[in-house]
Symmetry: C2
Subunit: 213 residues, 2 copies
């Protein structure tokens, strides 16, 4: 197995936290997204779609989505369980991850990729050029706001997103909120006490500290 990573990007960070929580060692290679190394020939041989992370399995299978990599690692290294134990808990983890992707992550991506100079001509992930659509910056900000409101209502009644136990849903949302904070500039978490309490608890976990330092 070989893990293709980049410390400055949200998706591979989710995988890095999963690996640290499981306490395993996986040979890791960094692909510098700031210098567009992912578009170079060497990485395109690993993953023609040119996104990071990739987990390359020993039989040549390429896993290119962080959620899929988490499911693979969960089965190889079941403890500590990050994807749930009961049918209900497992479904709630997938649910909060999907809400996070479609309502939070997409919003943060809209803001960052359509508003930042660095993403000119690259408004959509991958290798195909896409022009920025400036109106998406405001839309993305509003979507992030609604997503944080939703997290706050949930975390006001539940210690973690999927219930009493920390899970991959928290990892996914924690990384997405950090991504949104950087994309927006001002802090979308301000005034959301339950989200702030939960963020502090996740940030203090030894595996999260180790994976994000």
């Amino acid at each position: 197995m070989r893990f293709y990573d980049f410390k400055g990007a949200p998706s591979p960070t989710k995988v890095r936290i999963v690996i640290a929580e499981k306490g395993v060692e996986i040979p890791t290679e960094s692909v510098n997204l700031r210098t567009l190394e992912q578009q170079g020939e060497a990485y395109r041989r690993v993953h023609p779609g040119a996104t990071v992370p990739t987990l390359l399995l020993d039989d040549g299978t390429r896993l290119t989505e962080s959620h899929a990599i988490a499911h693979y690692l969960e089965q190889l290294y079941p403890e500590p369980a990050l994807l749930g134990r009961s049918p209900r808990e497992r479904a709630l983890i997938v649910m909060w991850h999907d809400i996070t992707v479609l309502e939070g992550y997409v919003g943060a991506q809209e803001v960052l990729r359509n508003g930042s100079e660095a993403f000119k001509g690259r408004a959509v992930p991958g290798i195909e050029p896409f022009e920025q659509i400036p109106a998406l910056v405001d839309r993305g900000r509003r979507r992030i706001g609604l997503y944080i409101d939703k997290l706050d209502r949930r975390l006001d009644e539940s210690e973690y997103l999927a219930g009493d136990r920390y899970s991959y849903a928290d990892i996914s949302a924690y990384v997405t909120v950090g991504f949104a904070q950087r994309a927006i500039g001002d802090d979308p978490v301000a005034g959301h006490a339950a989200v702030a309490r939960w963020l502090a608890a996740i940030a203090a976990r030894p595996a999260v500290v180790a994976a994000t330092q």
Copy 2:
């Protein structure tokens, strides 16, 4: 358990196909998205976020994302397996579902919700009003095109998306391609022989016929 469904919408259709493949009966209620019944008081009591589908469990837990509902039903009714048997197969199914959501479904949604008269003021799912951004219609069309190209390369080397066996990845992608065909008007599948072969195979499955008629 109670399943809140609507026959004309893509997300609940994925769940309807899963239920039909499992051969189970679940009490089902239709929520008419064409008359905005999802925004009425009765459905907002079931799911304040006003999206369909919802699977309401007997303990009051609300599962609101089709992928999460599929994971729940898979554990209650393991046969036929739709979410994989080996770690590799399970991960590939999650991967192709996630690619489908982020590269295909989001693109189709951009086209439909930002271009159609019926979605004026409702360009983002949920109850909050969002103005349409007409430039997203072209961007969404291009994203759908790239997604279909990717499916075609995969299905040229593999019978189904995650390998030799039909799975939830195929259900998710099949529904998304149908959604994209309706959103775009002209057929994005034209010229993609492997996608056409695979679409015909999925469409002929008795459970798919029963769930989509």
